[in-house]
């Protein structure tokens, strides 16, 4: 792939390297880039062009996915800043946070076992509100305070929340079937 490895996704999409995001600008840049590189524009051309188009379009989609999702975007910013957010190498979480996580998890398990769809949906909404609060902390840490150590900790908390949200969604899906 002859893609410039030093070019990060923010540069590729013509966006400032920060957590706060203009979603409209991201989407417009995504459409603009795909209209240049998408395989549909190269379907009548030789294989070498088709192959390169697929590689570029793949990279553009990957960049869009990472920049669009708050958690992935924060992780990517930390990665660019050289901060490791991997859970395996950094498992020291505050006891309060772990306690809170256990409570959430128990509530989800109980609702799931009892088949209470309404309760699960309520948990889903409460967790969403909670995630919004945590994300506004993250915005301050990344864009204002530039405190990457604190931001890495917040990212790990968001990863727990994300996982939990997925479990709730899966439980809801399983109950429907």
């Amino acid at each position: 792939m002859s893609i410039d490895p030093t070019q990060d996704y923010f540069t590729l999409f013509g966006l400032p390297r920060q957590y706060a995001l203009d979603e409209g600008a991201l989407e417009a840049a995504w459409h603009e880039l795909q209209s240049q590189v998408h395989p549909d524009r190269y379907a009548h051309l030789p294989d070498v062009d088709k192959r390169r188009s697929m590689q570029w379009a793949t990279r553009v989609n990957e960049g869009f996915r990472i920049l669009k999702k708050p958690l992935a975007r924060a992780q990517y910013l930390l990665e660019l800043a050289g901060v490791d957010t991997a859970l395996e190498t950094n498992t020291v979480m505050s006891p309060e946070f772990l306690m809170e996580q256990m409570e959430w998890r128990e509530a989800v398990e109980e609702a799931r076992a009892a088949g209470e769809v309404d309760e699960l949906e309520q948990l889903h909404h409460r967790l969403q509100t909670h995630a919004r609060e945590v994300r506004s902390d993250l915005a301050l840490q990344l864009d204002e305070a530039h405190d990457y150590t604190a931001a890495a900790d917040t990212v790990r908390r968001l990863m727990f929340i994300d996982k939990l949200q997925q479990e709730i969604d899966e439980a809801l899906l399983a109950l429907e079937e």
Binding site: S2, L12, H31, E32, Q36, P46, D49, M54, N61
Partner: protein
């Protein structure tokens, strides 16, 4: 009769000639072929003026093959050799196919895809589908008066990798270059959206003969972005026929019918179903070969009652697609109805109730998919005009993953990811000194591997012996714009790259396809070499034309040396194209591709830079 035009020797008739391309809706019950003529998409008719080709193939004892109406007329008298609804078998094993017990075929339950024993031997569903595609290809070539550059073939959005690959293989057997496999609801959205200048979020409810899809799309300024898709690859109008057929048997109290009688009753059930979309009641009157007589009346309400569960079954995927898109039903601006089965009034009522608005039925639900496919084929073939500035961003319908310890699925690419997409995952060894690793690629949403579809198994060999957990094996998944997966694996820590052999669990091997191609060609009395030569010549001319256009546009990006090398390669290839050796032409094409590799890269980088520059200017103007 129109006069045939002949160009002056050595002169091309038109310098920028229109490339012939078609869109094909390869349906469960009917198939269509369409093209863009003078800027308008039209379905092509056969010599008697009919556009719909029944997806029915009959293998006759004398070695001939009938496709379409003629084959359909024989389905009650020669049921075993007359294959209907073959799409249900594509990329499927026998255990995956519903209602096999009432089907009149002689199945061969081999590992992988099911096969059918006919009077002309064992046939794969891919071969049967290829007969339908070949018929449509010939119709198009006769109607358009030339060889096709390629076709866009539509597939249900919810088709998995095995079903898509089977469809592509069928096109290859039919001698039809595939420009793209396009999802049916997306094709419909293109036709609807462009005709109505639609903007906003739309749902496409596509109930065909044997498949159901629901796609949610966001249409904005020429971009058709699929937000989510869901469906049931084994639910369609056929199931409504089958339910009515069972009801008739039950109500008439006749003995279990023969294969031929069963087929006759199924045809009557379908006719009655179609009649009930316009009338309040329908009569079913059949004389069976057993001497028994069936004489029944079925009302619209009775039919709605007996098939209510099938309508309900479509609403599950509708809810899931909305949830994946993060939308509520009332946020959808319009619901486009596609597929002949959506003519049933009780389906339209159920959809109106669910979305709180009347569905859009102002287009022909039988033709809209083929018309959208033709529009897309036209631009993919290189006939794009300035006003054809649209872009389709489609998704993968089902998650892709790998089997891990304990028979669990590890998802590598989640469903509803925008295509094309690549993702890699790292794995390590379980035992000290382990030198090989077996991978199992699966598709589906369930946690257990046994509940997902097995796509392929492969082994990575030649891992250097290390302690358990030290090796780092990176498995990369790439899904292309057709929704087709390719997998590669390599060991990272030692830098050793080992080769990977992917064995498709439900597909055909390249050898099998080569064998079918050979027998198919012999059967048609065609000359395979002539065809191969023609294909390479067309490809060679295409590559030369594309390269010359690129030089004319971006020649400034080339050094004098590079330019000379490329021009030399073009001259060589042009010389080869006028010869008779298809292999030499192929190597000339490859040589030109190598010579232009760096140039192609710079051109693409450049177009991206200018895209971004344009974007930034817009921002400053605000």
């Amino acid at each position: 009769m129109a006069l045939l035009q002949i160009a002056e020797p050595g002169m091309s008739a038109e310098p920028h000639k229109h490339r012939l391309a078609v869109g094909i809706d390869l349906g469960t019950t009917n198939s269509l072929v369409a093209t863009v003529r003078n800027g308008i998409a039209v379905c092509l008719a056969d010599e008697t003026g009919r556009t719909m080709l029944p997806s029915v193939v009959r293998y006759r004892a004398d070695g001939s093959i009938e496709v379409g109406h003629k084959a359909m007329a024989a389905q009650a008298t020669d049921a075993r050799n007359t294959i209907v609804s073959v799409k249900r078998f594509m990329g499927r094993g026998l255990k995956d196919v519903a209602h096999v017990e009432t089907m009149p075929y002689d199945f061969e339950d081999t590992a992988g895809m099911v096969r059918l024993r006919t009077v002309q031997g064992v046939k794969s569903p891919v071969e049967v589908s290829a007969e339908i595609l070949r018929t449509l290809r010939k119709r198009a070539e006769a109607s358009l008066g030339g060889e096709l550059v390629g076709a866009v073939i539509t597939v249900p959005a919810y088709f998995d990798d095995a079903q898509r690959q089977a469809t592509k293989d069928a096109a290859r057997l039919a001698g039809l270059p595939v420009l793209r496999l396009l999802n049916e609801p997306t094709a419909a959205a293109v036709a609807y959206g462009l005709d109505n200048a639609a903007e906003g979020v739309y749902a496409v409810y596509d109930l065909g003969g044997g498949t159901f899809d629901l796609s949610i799309l966001k249409l904005s300024r020429g971009v058709f972005e699929v937000l989510s898709t869901n469906g049931d690859a084994a639910l369609g109008g056929d199931d409504f026929d089958h339910r009515l057929f069972c009801w008739i048997l039950d109500k008439a109290g006749v003995a279990p019918p023969s294969l031929e009688d069963a087929r006759r009753l199924q045809m009557k059930a379908r006719e009655a179903k179609e009649l009930l979309s316009v009338c309040e009641e329908a009569t079913v009157h059949v004389h069976l070969s057993s001497g028994e007589e069936v004489d029944l009346v079925v009302t619209r309400d009775e039919f709605a009652d007996m098939t209510r569960h099938l309508v309900q079954k479509t609403l599950g995927p509708v809810r899931k697609a909305l949830r994946d898109a993060g939308l509520a039903a009332d946020e959808v601006k319009g619901v486009v109805m596609v597929g002949g089965a959506t003519r049933m009034p009780h389906i339209q009522h159920a959809i109106a109730e669910f979305f709180g608005q009347e569905p859009l039925t102002n287009l022909d639900p039988d033709k809209v998919v083929a018309l959208g496919a033709a529009m897309q084929a036209n631009v993919l073939a290189g006939n794009r005009r300035d006003e054809d500035d649209w872009l389709l961003l489609d998704v993968i319908p089902l998650s892709l993953g790998l089997e891990t310890m304990g028979g669990l699925t590890e998802k590598v690419i989640p469903r509803n990811s925008t295509l094309p997409i690549a993702r890699a995952q790292e794995f390590t060894t379980f035992k000290d000194g382990q030198t090989a690793m077996a991978f199992h690629v699966v598709q589906g949403e369930r946690e257990l591997v046994t509940d997902c579809r097995s796509l392929a198994r492969f082994e990575l060999r030649g891992i250097p012996p290390m302690v358990a957990g030290a090796a780092r094996i990176r498995v990369s998944f790439q899904v292309d714009a057709d929704g087709l997966l390719s997998v590669a694996a390599r060991e990272m820590s030692s830098g050793v790259e080992a080769s990977v052999l992917v064995k498709p669990s439900y597909g055909l091997t390249d050898d099998e396809i080569a064998g079918m191609l050979k027998s198919g060609v012999e059967h048609a009395g065609d000359d395979m070499l002539a065809r191969a030569l023609r294909e390479q010549q067309v490809e060679g001319e295409r590559v030369i034309e594309a390269t010359e256009q690129a030089i004319a546009k971006d020649g400034a990006l080339l050094s004098a040396d590079e330019r000379a090398t490329i021009e030399q390669s073009i001259a060589t290839l042009r010389e080869l194209c006028s010869g008779k050796d298809h292999r030499a032409i192929k190597s000339g094409i490859d040589a030109l591709a190598r010579a232009t590799d760096g140039f192609a890269a710079r051109r693409m980088d450049n177009s991206i830079r200018s895209a971004l520059a344009g974007h930034k200017v817009d921002e400053f103007e605000v």
